[in-house]
Amino acid sequence: MEDIAIVAFAQTPCYRKYDDSEPSMIMGLVNQIVEEVEIDRHQIDFTIAGSCDYLTGRAFAFIANVDGYGAWPPVYESHVEMDGAWALFEAFVRLQMGDIGSALIVSSGKSSPGTPREIFPLQTDPYLGAPLGLDPVSAAGLQARALLDSGKATERDFAEVVSRSRRDGLSNPNAQVGKDVPVEDLLKEPYYASPLRKHDLPPISDGASAVLIARGQRARELCEKPVWIRGIDHRIESHHLGLRDLTDSPSSRIAARSLGLDAGSLDVAELCARYSPEEIVLRQALELGDGTRINPSGGPLCGHPVMASGLTRVVEVARRIRGGEAGRGLGHATSGPALQQNLLCILEGDA
């Protein structure tokens, strides 16, 4: 397998409502990356984006987004109707073919015009799930209750995740929500989708992120401190909640095993835990210990630009490795209700 590294990355802040277009949100990031690595836009061999037209309700919004990543004269490009982390996966696989050297990955989402709780049932089974309006919050509530009943977590554990994440959000300039709230105060809040309280849910966000990756020598030409992708894998579970063990994440565990993940070696993990119980499920499934700092950015609980939220986890890890805060880290992305599909990306700096 050829060494592939992240050579540049960028992200927007998480906005409750970004007042301009999705392409304009993307354009700034792409310009920032191109300027940083000092290359012409057309020296990037492949471009791939992850976004979802349903968020803004615009048919072919993903085509409009092409303006944002700069495609004239035409570029070689692709798109996934998934979080940008899956676009990163496709780009990584594409670069393995060896004929091209670099790829730009862009992810973006504007959830502000729509009602996510009404949109996301559409990603469930269209015969038995979507007609019930089975939304991600409700699925997370079922997962939370299953965790409590299994003895694998308590409501206090959920609140501790929230308290720590929201406190970390205070020092993240891109976070939408940051607060210093003690666990006891959180536990006094009313239930929203019991046993979840509103603070166990992510905010509704607009935002985007982007990364530039390159193969071995090209990566060293483009930057001083490449952040190497040591492995990337993703796995999926059944679309029927009743066929899954909601207290576990076997798909994450299988991905970790296939990557040979040594959880003890991770200095940092950015988990796309959209609901506080998801962090607990992932920590247990991936066997993350005290030596691994979890979601120093505050994670999705402090800003959740759907479609960009997963790739942003990869960006957050890359930033810490490049900044010298971490040597090795894990970026996680997820899709579907209650952690149905999970992607793991192991990143490492030069020794």
Binding site: D19, D20, S21, P23, S24, M27, G28, V30, N31, R41, Y54, T56, G57, R58, F60, I63, A64, D67, G70, W72, S112, P113, G114, T115, R117, E118, I119, P121, L122, P126, Y127, L128, G129, A130, P131, L132, G133, L134, D135, S138, G141, L142, Q143, A144, R145, A146, D149, P190, Y191, Y192, A193, S194, P195, L196, S238, H240, L241, G242, L243, L246
Partner: protein
């Protein structure tokens, strides 16, 4: 600058065939019973077409389960969404029906969260109006259940219909708001982009140069232009059709614009008098009658709103065909 709120509803009416397993399952629901499917030693409910462990196709060996079962997990929905089966607070639950080995996600109508617990017994209740859909049924705590006598429907349920209907609320982006305000003021406001072109409406950025544009890049265009193309629309009858007589729809490029205005209705020029190259002037409606309700953020379907009373010939000579302006 005033804010321009926009709102629209996106609808996709889906019609799906149900196949050999979901079809009988939904037919049975319509007729007041719940089916699972045999998969090895297990019974899966809701039934699926494939063995979840191996992916092997399951023969449609369906067995009746329920109508009572146990709650394996639940969440109390304090504020239901418009898409939920109940508009008052209810529980979503994983219900393992008697005779089944897997749980079905469904709604439980109960007095309150205190009436819910893991392991509690619930029972299916069927709605009065049933369509052969998952929403034909719901669950209640066993003590609340009433006996029902369900008359079977006719024929097999083979098709499901599902109307996706989503409402979006936004505001016009800053450049689009200036464009809309211009139309209300009786002006065409475009944006200057690369190659000394003017885009109308603008996008708020220059896609070629990859830079954001500002109000300083706005350009007012004269209300005069040239016909680039046209067609005669002959109305056909359909539900909601209001047109009865043939009319003209023209593509017009304003002087100085790099991009044409498409589908401009022409009602005041006889059908056989409009020509490609003809010079036209937009006569705006009185200010009080101008509307920009259909001006949108989506530049793929640009509108000039309802502000132009008519396009009238300027009387200038036609632009020769080989001298027509270029259009993006």
């Amino acid at each position: 600058m005033s804010e321009f709120p926009i709102s629209f509803t996106l609808e996709y009416p889906y019609t799906r065939t149900l196949g050999p397993v979901i079809g009988p399952f939904l037919t049975a629901l319509r007729d007041g019973c719940i089916l699972g499917i045999r998969c090895g030693n297990r019974v899966l409910c809701p039934p699926i077409e494939f063995d979840p462990d191996t992916g092997e196709t399951l023969s449609p060996d369906l067995v009746e389960v329920g109508p009572a079962g146990s709650v394996e997990s639940w969440t109390w929905i304090a504020e239901p969404s418009r898409k939920h089966p109940f508009q008052e607070p209810f529980a979503f639950a994983l219900v393992k029906l008697d005779g089944a080995d897997t749980a079905m996600t469904h709604a439980v109508k109960a007095a309150g969260p205190e009436a819910m617990s893991t392991g509690m017994r619930v029972r299916a209740q069927f709605r009065e109006e049933r369509a052969g859909a998952i929403t034909d049924v719901y669950f209640v705590p066993e003590g609340d259940a009433r006996d029902q006598s369900i008359a079977p429907g006719e024929g097999e349920v083979e098709i499901s219909t599902h109307l996706i209907s989503l409402t979006y609320n936004d505001t016009l982006y800053p450049h689009a708001a200036r464009y809309a305000q211009g139309l209300l003021d009786g002006k065409f406001i475009g944006q200057r982009i690369s190659g000394d072109q003017v885009a109308i409406p603008g996008k708020g950025y220059d896609a070629l140069a990859r830079v954001m544009l500002t109000e300083a890049d706005d350009v007012e265009l004269a209300p005069t232009g040239t016909v680039l193309s046209y067609t005669v629309i002959t109305p056909v009858k359909y539900r909601g059709q209001k047109e009865t007589e043939p009319y003209l729809s023209a593509t017009i490029i304003l002087d100085g614009a790099g991009q044409s205005l498409v589908q401009q209705d022409i009602r005041n020029i006889p059908l056989d008098e409009l020509r490609v190259g003809m010079r036209l002037r937009a006569i705006f409606k009185p200010a009080a009658e101008r509307k920009v309700d259909d001006v949108d953020n989506d530049w793929m379907y640009p509108s000039i709103g309802d502000v132009v009373e008519r396009w009238e010939p300027t009387g200038e000579p036609d632009v020769p065909l080989d001298g027509l302006p270029e259009s993006m």
